[in-house]
């Protein structure tokens, strides 16, 4: 009996003093998106986006904005406008405005997302050509704006030309000395439409270059693997669409002095659209050859561009480092990278041509 009394007593003490702070689901603001815009004078405007769930209709997108110097002061200002505490745990998307990314850099803002244990590593960071505040005010879909943007990015990673990206990858690339990070670039077309407009390449948190949509196919070939891609090839005035592209790339250190790297790109795919009459074996061979040439041309162009701008989103530096003991990164960035020669050796195989000839 004494034990039971003790336990009940303890239980009541726990109820009274052991309590921790509650975050009851419907009594907090579940922030799903946050955006940062550049303001003349060096300040930043922060905008948070959360869905206000309604019964039987789509959630309403609510935004709060505030201007300040660092993220915490912005958030404090936003909290002053909010009726419920803001929770970070279901954050899905962080948007930086292009101007901010060009002029001020985004690094100091990202630190908070990395430090907060409530924020997942799988969230998406993106750069917007419009102001984030305007972007969040659109109406993009059934599940709320933040969800829409994150699904847009997710879809493009899985099925289109966007190489894999998320907070963890961005930070990993940033801290990897032989690599520079990249982020998706999005653009608001109208109040209800947004699109992916390319891949932004960063160095020290500032945008240095942008890979356009036309080239991002080749960028992904170099930076990531394809599991399900699509590309159009034009041969003799006829167009063929190569689908279900599966690609792998392999780097080879062909010579150290002078530094020469060969990139082997292997592509498999099927043809699912063809504007010509008949698809013969020899024509498929032609398509393959043309495709290979295109890859070679564009990839070499891209790499040349990266070398000029002193960025390395593909990770050549990391590759060479993994082959070299006592690697010196200062020397690499000073001279070796810009003098490096890269050869692209693509191999394209088209195995299927659909159900007709």
């Amino acid at each position: 009996m004494k034990q039971i009394q003790l336990i009940t007593l303890l239980f009541f003490f726990l109820l009274l003093s052991g309590c921790v702070e509650r975050e009851i689901l419907d009594e907090i603001i579940l922030m799903e998106g946050i955006g940062f815009d550049y303001v003349e004078g060096g300040d930043i405007t922060g905008t948070i986006l959360y869905p206000d769930y309604k019964k039987e209709t789509e959630p309403e997108n609510v935004t709060y904005s505030a201007t300040g110097e660092i993220m915490k002061t912005i958030l404090q200002d936003i909290e002053r406008q909010a009726a419920r505490p803001i929770a970070f745990g279901s954050l899905e998307i962080v948007i930086f405005d292009l101007e901010l990314a060009k002029k001020r850099g985004i690094l100091d803002l990202i630190d908070a997302f990395q430090r907060d244990p409530a924020i997942g590593s799988g969230i998406y960071l993106a750069i917007s050509e419009n102001k984030a505040k305007e972007l969040f005010k659109g109406e993009y879909g059934l599940r709320g704006n933040a969800r829409f943007i994150s699904m847009l990015i997710d879809h493009n990673i899985r099925h289109e030309d966007l190489p894999k990206t998320n907070l963890q990858r961005f930070m990993g690339d940033f801290y990897q000395q032989g690599k520079t990070p990249y982020l998706p670039l999005i653009k608001q077309n109208s109040k209800t439409k947004i699109e992916l407009s390319g891949v932004a390449l960063l160095k020290y948190g500032k945008i240095v270059d942008v890979v356009s949509n036309e080239q991002s196919f080749f960028f992904k070939l170099l930076a990531d693997k394809y599991s399900n891609g699509l590309h159009r090839v034009e041969v003799d005035g006829k167009e063929a669409a190569v689908q279900s592209i599966i690609s792998t790339n392999r780097f080879e250190l062909t010579s150290r002095d002078p530094l020469h790297i060969t990139v082997h790109i292997k592509i498999g795919g099927t043809i699912n659209e063809f504007t010509g009459n008949k698809l013969t074996d020899s024509f498929i061979k032609k398509i393959e050859k043309k495709f290979e040439k295109e890859i070679q041309k564009h990839c070499t162009q891209l790499i040349k561009r990266f070398q000029e701008k002193e960025i390395d989103p593909i990770g050549f530096g990391h590759f060479v480092k993994s082959k070299t003991r006592n690697f010196d990164f200062n020397q690499w960035w000073d001279s070796e990278y810009s003098q490096m020669e890269v050869t692209i050796k693509p191999v394209v195989t088209i195995d299927e041509e659909g159900i007709i000839e």
Partner: protein, 490 residues
């Protein structure tokens, strides 16, 4: 003579207060011998006295008590001069025959027994299999068991408990198979009982449990004679209590409470599947509302994005924190259950349906609870009914509440801590001194053949390791399946 008079006198003074005490003198028609019959009308069967005792005593020729044995068609006849027995025998339904001149008493059995007909098991009903259930009569129950185990090794030991109720308890085991230590522990525990009155075997179960402060049942009770016979042949000890239609089986493990006896009537694949479902149901039943409370109170991050909308909208109108909401619903369900159990079957069902639907929908519409939680609570209640043994079902009903409370205090950490407490408690529990969590801990791979899954019968050639039986093998497996190595085309 004097002594006899005295004792008879004392009995008279004891019993004359009772209305049912009868003492009548008769005279034999041939020998003119006067004899006295003493009995209690409420415990003796008047029909036996009228038809089987009196006519023989009146019309046959006899002079001594010794002669009675040969003239009466009743086998349970005792001659004794032990006066201390009189009271007990009379209360037990014997008729006392005394002669003026003789020292001895003759006790003639004329017990009145009202035996309920053997009915279909209600608590452990099974669609397939035998339909007999125990009744309140010990001899009838013994008959049901003996019928199924016709071997001389089945030992029936009689014990008596209760200073007032004088309840007969029978200890059953198979000689040469059941572990001596188990039998001795059980016997000793019964002998050590200090109690005045026993109403049912449930009294015994509670009193002989290893840890009486545990919500877990440490003995299995069953109303199925077939189950008793099966467990006896497994090497377990069984107790039958007079006046109770439930036999007590020990030692048991926790997993046995989740195995229905029907499992053995089904194909092993089906039986194993259903068993696994039951375990899942129990885990679900105990944990789902606590996890709901913990997640909604503390760990909103855990909830998948697509689900958040549903949860938020369903909770929007609810003015209470999740814990109050959950307690409200859980208590409602418990109320419905208690009300249903106390009411007659037909009314009970109506109450269940009306209460479930009306209160449920009404409280959602009134905004007292969220409909998502209503689904969880209803499912949890449903899942807790899947336990085949009634007693463990009650335990599971109770277990949910501590989990709920700690889930509210420390979220998932609290649930994890509470689970650790529960786990430790179960590790520490024993049944007749045998580990309760076996075969999980101590891990005995061999006993897994009939725990979470039930393997086919030919795999069950060994008795459970946990029982430490004297004869480990049940049958010779080699003779059962003669492996004939045949090629495909033979």
């Amino acid at each position: 003579m004097k002594r006899k008079k005295q004792s008879v006198q004392s009995i008279k003074t004891v019993f004359t207060k009772s209305q049912d005490y009868k003492r009548i003198c008769y005279e034999n028609k041939i020998t003119k011998l006067t004899f006295t019959l003493t009995f209690l009308t409420t415990v003796t069967d008047e029909k036996i006295v009228r038809d089987h005792i009196l006519p023989f005593l009146l019309e046959n020729e006899w002079t001594k008590l010794e002669d009675v044995k040969s003239i009466l068609p009743i086998e349970d006849l005792q001659l004794t001069d032990d006066t201390s027995q009189i009271e007990k025998k009379l209360l037990n339904g014997f008729v006392m025959l005394t002669l003026e001149k003789e020292q001895q008493y003759c006790f003639i059995s004329a017990k009145k027994e009202n035996i309920r007909n053997i009915t279909v098991p209600e608590v452990e009903f099974s669609v397939i299999g035998p339909k007999e259930a125990f009744v309140e009569s010990l001899s009838e129950n013994l008959n049901l068991i003996r019928k199924r185990l016709q071997v001389k090794e089945l030992i029936v030991e009689q014990l008596e408990v209760g200073t007032l109720s004088k309840t007969n308890i029978v200890l059953l085991y198979l000689d040469g198979i059941t572990n001596e230590a188990n039998i001795n522990t059980m016997r000793q525990r019964i002998k050590d009982l200090e109690v005045d009155h026993i109403a049912d075997s449930s009294y015994i179960v509670q009193m002989i449990s290893d840890n009486q402060n545990s919500p877990f049942p440490q003995f299995l009770d069953t109303e199925r004679p077939d189950r008793v016979a099966a467990t006896l042949s497994e090497g377990k000890v069984v107790l039958l209590v007079d006046g109770s239609p439930h036999a007590i089986i020990g030692p048991v493990t926790i997993v046995e409470f989740f195995s229905a006896f029907e499992d053995y009537f089904l194909n092993w694949i089906l039986a194993s599947f259903f068993r696994l479902i039951r375990f899942f149901a129990v885990a679900f039943s105990v944990l789902v509302t606590p996890i709901y409370v913990a997640t909604l109170t503390y760990h909103y991050e855990l909830i998948p994005q697509d689900l958040i909308g549903i949860l938020v909208t369903s909770r929007r109108a609810v003015p209470f924190p999740p814990i109050i909401e959950a307690l409200f619903l859980e208590l409602t369900i418990e109320l419905l259950r208690e009300a249903g159990a106390r009411l007659p079957t037909k009314v009970g069902q109506t109450i269940g349906i009306v209460g479930g639907i009306v209160i449920g929908t009404a409280s959602v519409e009134a905004g007292l609870t969220s409909n998502v939680l209503l689904i969880f609570v209803a499912l949890a209640a449903l899942a807790s009914f899947t336990t085949p043994v009634y007693r463990i079902g009650n335990t599971i009903r109770l277990l949910r509440f501590p989990f709920l409370l700690v889930g509210d205090i420390w979220g998932l950490i609290g649930i994890s801590l509470c689970f650790s407490f529960l786990l430790t408690h179960m590790i520490r529990l024993t049944s007749l001194g045998r580990p309760y969590l076996e075969p999980i801990y101590p891990p005995r791979l061999q006993d897994f053949k009939d725990a979470f899954i039930r393997l086919p019968f030919y795999k069950q050639s060994k008795r459970p390791n946990q029982l430490r039986t004297k004869k480990a093998s049940r049958f010779d497996r080699k003779n059962v399946i003669k492996k004939v190595k045949k090629d495909i085309d033979e």
